[in-house]
Amino acid sequence: MRISTGNIFRLRKTWWRFEETFFRSLMIFSSMVIVGVLLLIIFSIMKTGIPALSFEMLTQTPKGGFYFGKEGGILNAIVGSAYLAVGATGLALSIGLPVAIFMNTWLLKHKKTVNIIRFILDLLWGVPSIIYGAIGFMIMIMLGLKTSLLAGIIVVGMFILPIMIRAIDEALKTSPSGLTEASLSLGSTKSELGFKVLAKQCFPGIITAVLLSFGRAIGDAASVLFTTGFTDNIPTSLTQPTATLPLSIFFQLTSPIPEVKNRAYAAAVVLTIIILLTSILSRVFSNRYKKHSIKF
């Protein structure tokens, strides 16, 4: 009786050891797959795109016959995307910063309200960008407006607003409550507390939020698909339509002409590099931010 129990126990142990090794290998494999896929994506984008990349590509706008493989570059899309992303990020920041500050100063006492706002912002962040784009376009039709840079800035700005507010909010949340109390007891108003003390204290966090939103703004295609239009020229005013990098990739990739397709690949490299730079920059800032907050 005792012996058999012992045997069963030993058998179980062996089985456990097998299970442990098996699942552990699966786990390591999964983590490897994730890192591997990232490397594969970057590698294949670079491999197809870099041969097509040239100085001319980055510095010229499309010339006549561009879409049949003739001369020109994607400067229109690069500049258009830059205008659009900067504009949208600026718009989202100018609304988002005050709202985030509002949540962390005036509403500090109303924990429940703040949590509801956070919940709704997270919910809005889950709304697909195509819906923002579709509604934006619908409203433009109703008002009789044409596609333009401004329309794109507003739609993309609204689309990135939730992430902007939440990211700033997370930064402000970590500021020590002693600072808030000290500042208020010195007799400053809540807006002074918010804009002068908290915003300065959390400056690196705000930069991170801006970079994060910028990355979203420059990369999203579905929201600008109907709102910015597409043009070969670099826009000179807010009311003109504009090209963007994501759409330039999207439209040219479907072309049957290899030269045009190559341009899509080249544009993909440009966009990927912009995104990687933004990501690295925000990592640098958030690391510095962490160092800063340890001091407290």
Binding site: E19, E20, F23, R24, L26, M27, I28, S30, S31, V33, I34, V35, V37, L38, L40, I41, S44, I45, T48, I95, P98, V99, I101, F102, W106, L107, I120, D122, L123, L124, G126, V127, P128, S129, I130, I131, A134, I135, M138, L161, I165, T189, K190, S191, G215, I218, G219, D220, A221, A222, F226, P246, I249, L253, Y265, A268, L271, T272, I275, R283
Partner: protein
């Protein structure tokens, strides 16, 4: 001194008013979006019952026939395929990163996750076209004896799964980190191995969290547009296998917006597509977040 002080207080008032206004607008936005879409799609809904629209697979805008089932079913196909691929990988990797991996490994993987999360949809699309689509038509399909151009439900599901991995993974890591380390220590102290502890205690404890992470992934995948559109084929039919092309809801909206004004009721139909999309996304988002909040409150 006095005017200065009054100026400050007036500024404070003014700030308060417009900040409140913006906050209220933001709170109301989901309702505004839902209401707007409902209003815009009401024209179509007045002429056809919702059930008929959802159930029918006949999509002939020119003769006024709008059956949404090919699009909804395509969306479901790619979404579930993405979840089936990404779900296990995310759970296993999150367990690895929280319970097994040395800290230096986390320092390598965390930036990788962040970068994956930041890569734009259209880049994933290009990757899908360059790598996944040829892989399916050239290598995978022959194994299964399937005829396909590669632009298929499977391509959409694969690309989508990579896109939602960072999203689900980050949530899961957070979920596993909220499980008190003492529970793990207490279980290990009973003399069970690491994996048995995870399998029979920690995963059970994290179960609601895992469900909601998957739910959030689902709603993200459901709303993804450009990347899926680029690889899924866009053929209006009810797909019957993963090697067939599909036509998800998001792609329907994106592809047809330009011409919608020339056909009666078309705009209303596309708005209904957006409404269905919005409803499904918000529903899953809402449910998942409520589960997570309840779950996290248990440990506070």
């Amino acid at each position: 001194m006095k005017p200065f002080r009054i100026g400050r207080l007036v500024k404070e008032r003014v700030n308060r008013v417009w900040m409140t206004l913006w906050t209220v607008i933001i709170i109301l936005t989901p309702v505004i979006i839902g209401g707007f879409l409902l209003w815009k799609s009401s024209m179509l809904l007045e002429e056809n019952s919702l059930m008929k629209l959802l159930g029918s697979s006949e999509w002939k805008p020119l003769s006024g026939k709008f059956g949404f089932s090919p699009f909804i079913i395509s969306s479901l196909w790619v979404t579930f395929l993405a979840l089936i691929i990404a779900g296990p990988i995310c759970i296993l990797s999150a367990l690895h990163l929280t319970y097994y991996a040395p800290s230096f490994f986390m320092k390598i993987v965390q930036p990788a996750i962040d970068i994956l999360a930041g890569i734009p949809s259209v880049i994933y699309g290009v990757w899908g076209v360059v790598v996944i689509v040829p892989f399916i038509s050239g290598h995978l399909a022959p194994v299964f004896n399937a005829e396909t151009s590669g632009y298929s439900i499977l391509a959409g599901g694969l690309v989508l799964s990579v896109m939602i991995i960072p999203f689900i993974l980050n949530i899961l890591i957070e979920i596993f980190n909220t499980i008190p380390v003492e529970l793990r220590e207490a279980t290990l102290s009973l003399g069970v191995s690491n994996w048995i502890t995870i399998r029979s205690v920690l995963l059970r404890k994290a179960f609601p969290g895992i469900i909601s992470a998957i739910g959030l992934g689902l709603s993200r995948a459901f709303g993804e547009t450009i990347a899926v559109l680029m690889v899924v084929g866009n053929v209006t039919h009810v797909p019957e296998g993963v090697f067939q092309p599909g036509y998800p809801l998001t792609a329907l909206i994106a592809n047809n917006y330009g011409e919608m004004l020339s056909i009666p009721l078309y705009d209303s139909a596309l708005m209904l597509a957006a409404l269905i999309l919005f409803a499904i996304v918000v529903l899953f988002n809402l449910a998942s977040r409520l589960i997570i909040i309840r779950y996290e409150n248990k440990y506070r």
